[in-house]
């Protein structure tokens, strides 16, 4: 394996993020091919965390844009600073003619930079995280195309603003809706799956060094069995960690029916899912799986 990729894996490991070789290759290409990386996967598999860890690894800023329905240019790219423009007009309307005033108020200093514009005008490359793109409207995907392919943004009054330094763009999606082919075509793609059993034990041990290895193994077995069951919301890595932390706080040595009954709320977030587990014995979920 390439030395740079190995370096990436160990640097991420030091920051508490365990990268597998496949994902490490995608991150490596994101940096080398200068193409955005689209990460898809179930909630709680570590997609967002990857971006912040990458920013930590590169010792650069992370600019995060959380998507939601109704996102528009004003909240994502730029907005004119109307108050400042009006103030400028009031201050100089006696001294300057209309034309000069009109030209002056449409300069960069009157632009309020929103995350996307900030990311391309930064002095050094930043990590731009466009989180949960599947929550945004399709029109917003169209806004993004110019940025993702050419790393530039067009502002009608100012023209095209090219990136001073190309940001490393990571897009995440929980796949609640299908993204357009145009957007996918511009990105590298990686499906982030739940970690393997060994990897998840490693993650827990890394985050909670004081946990007993046997208890960590039981937690992971339980969680993996839950993921195989038909639940409304299968637990992610964050839930595994929360549960392991809870068990540590309760000084539990192993998982019993009573402990599950009392603490399952930190793992499952739906009433039906909780009932599903409560109607079964703990042994069913502690069965070893491959």
């Amino acid at each position: 394996m390439n030395k740079e990729i190995e370096g990436l894996i160990s640097s991420f490991y030091e920051q508490g993020y365990i990268l597998n070789k496949e994902l490490a290759t995608s991150v490596f290409l994101l940096n080398n091919l200068e193409k955005p990386l689209l990460l898809e996967g179930d909630p709680g598999v570590g997609k967002t965390m990857l971006a912040s860890t990458l920013a930590g690894h590169l010792k650069t800023d992370l600019i995060r844009l959380q998507c939601y329905e109704g996102l528009d240019v004003g909240t994502t790219i730029y907005e004119w600073n109307y108050q400042k423009q009006l103030l400028h007009i009031k201050l100089f309307e006696q001294e300057k003619d209309k034309r000069t005033l009109g030209e002056e108020i449409f300069g960069m200093e009157y632009v309020l930079k929103r995350p996307l514009l900030r990311s391309i005008t930064a002095d050094k490359p930043v990590v731009l995280l466009i989180d949960e793109i599947d929550r945004a409207d399709e029109e917003f995907e169209a806004f993004l195309l110019e940025l993702l392919s050419d790393f530039q943004i067009s502002i009608p009054e100012l023209g095209t603003i090219k990136a001073v330094s190309k940001p490393l763009v990571i897009l995440t999606s929980n796949r609640t809706r299908e993204l357009s082919d145009a957007l996918r075509r511009r990105c590298l793609y990686h499906w982030v799956d739940f970690p393997t059993k060994a990897m998840e034990i490693d993650i827990i041990a890394r985050k909670l060094p004081e946990i007993d290895a046997e208890l960590a193994g039981q937690v992971v077995n339980f969680i993996h069995n839950l993921r195989k069951s038909s639940l409304q919301k299968p637990p992610g890595i964050a839930e595994s960690l929360d549960w392991a932390k809870t068990l540590l706080l309760l000084n539990a040595d192993n998982i019993t029916d009573e402990i599950v009954r009392n603490t399952i709320g930190s793992v499952l977030k739906h009433k039906d899912d909780i009932e599903f587990v409560r109607n079964r014995t703990v042994q069913e979920f502690l069965m070893p799986i491959d």
């Binding site: 394996m1 390439n2 290759t25 091919l33 809706r177 996918r184 075509r185 590298l188 499906w191 409304q232």
Partner: protein
Amino acid sequence: MVAIDKTFKERLIDFTFYCRERQFVIGPQDTRDAFEIAERGYWLDRKLFHYSLKAIYCKRKEHYDRFDEMFNRFWSRYYEEKLEARKKTVKQLKKEPETDTIIFLGAKFNKPKQQKEEKEAKQTKGANENTRLRFTDFSKVDVADKERLEELAEELFHQMSMRFKRRLEDANKGRIDIRKTIRHSISKGGLMLDLAHRKKRKEKRKVVFILDVSGSMDTYSYYLLRYVMVLKKYFRELEFFTFSTHLTHVTPMLRANREFQVLKEIGANVQSWSSGTKIGESLTEFLDVYGSKFLSQKHIVVILSDGLETGNVTQLKEAVGTIRRRCKTLVWLNPLKGMKDYQPIQKGMVNVMPHLDAFESAHNLDSLLKLEKLLMDV
């Protein structure tokens, strides 16, 4: 940069075509990226090259799941082919016969070379192959075509779903919201620079699919199931039931993000898959248990069945009549309609025909894709 030899370049282009044949959407930029990573010497490390191509060539989860097998199959196949080609070249150097010999009824005949070329042409895969598969009846798909049909279905259903999504969006911004506009203007010194619009609330489309999974529908139910699963992504209010002798509510099983997992779960939970057909009983059960929840004048009900009823026909007639009265539109999709000279003269179909708003075939990919218009008019 590492110089890559001609053979490797050809191999990479072959692989790109191989992926495209399997419905991967790979543009010139992707090919350029693939060459760039090759030139950087990543191809010297098989795993690195594999994962890099995977990140570049895959655009969706479905591609991602298939890629490893394709990569391994292609590159191993390539080596085998190379070896065989080398052996053939050695043989051909000895002598290449002008004709092939065939033995028929004990006598030897020389087959002209042209015939051989025609055979090869028939095996060529491409646009014609896709058209052929698109019109192939699901019940007549042979083992050799199955995999390619699967891939084609996946791609065509995906394209259809994208068209759905675009049409579902409302381009009209609606009328101006005065109160909101005034509120926005406060920060701009009272100037109404940003006009706020009030959008008309979109009426949600509600669809109920009831799929026959009895033995007689075996060859079709798998593809129809996948079709409904694709639609589920775009109709938030889609309910899905299967029946043969019993009715099963499948919607809760469609939650999983992975198609394979969904199919596995449906397979494990659906009662009486591939058994007899009791359409009337099942539809009555649907009316009794779910009717009040999933039937209204906003609902379109789509029944996918061959109509070969083995139960009580009067019950079927009454159930279909009641469903029709309680929903907006009732559509019956019958795979048998795709057969030449088919007439709905079976007892079951004769009784339900007067209650239907539309009666369509659903026997091949093309007929399923044509339903798009029908569903858009809901």
